[in-house]
Symmetry: C2
Subunit: 120 residues, 2 copies
Amino acid sequence: MSLSSTYKPGLHILASFSATSASLRGMEACRAFFDRLILDKALVKVGEAYHEFPGGGFTAVIALTESHLSIHTWPEHGLATFDVFLSNFLRDNESIVRSVYGETLEFFEGTELNKTELRR
Amino acid sequence: MSLSSTYKPGLHILASFSATSASLRGMEACRAFFDRLILDKALVKVGEAYHEFPGGGFTAVIALTESHLSIHTWPEHGLATFDVFLSNFLRDNESIVRSVYGETLEFFEGTELNKTELRR
């Protein structure tokens, strides 16, 4: 089966990057960064969950009207897994997906380990 | 660069499925189903965000200690995009990722349109 002919798939970037343990323990700094990023890109947050683990790693999932953003950090491995998925319902968000990922990588001063792009 | 040698990548399933518009408008039914599923699979929820759109489509993102679960429904297109990503930190969760996806598809009586599996 194929998708409905009027549905325009959105871009989902899934990436892993390495970064310093200190930056991967910075949940509140990440929250402030994501909030600013969401405003800058004119995205609309409709809910979120942040959770810090013993040791300072954290998980954040942010529901957007456009879909979602997530990060899971593993300071003990110097690693984060990051997702950004934006639908194209109200406008074409593909360039915003790329800039959200790029700016996140910059914020963490991360080195990309792998990246997958899906249209869905 | 490669991942830290002690890090065992987790399985992430990303899928789209078609389903009836009625089931894709059932946010509260989905919430009850996910809550039961999370208990059944001995996963640990640490936060969540559910949001219903005008028209009855909805978005849910659930933060788990094991990573996350998300769904975005488009009743106007008879379509949902679903993700489940579980790390293997405390145990091997790969078969649980598959059963979470399979049971979600069954719950919505959905027809799979596409599925991607990533280890990350």
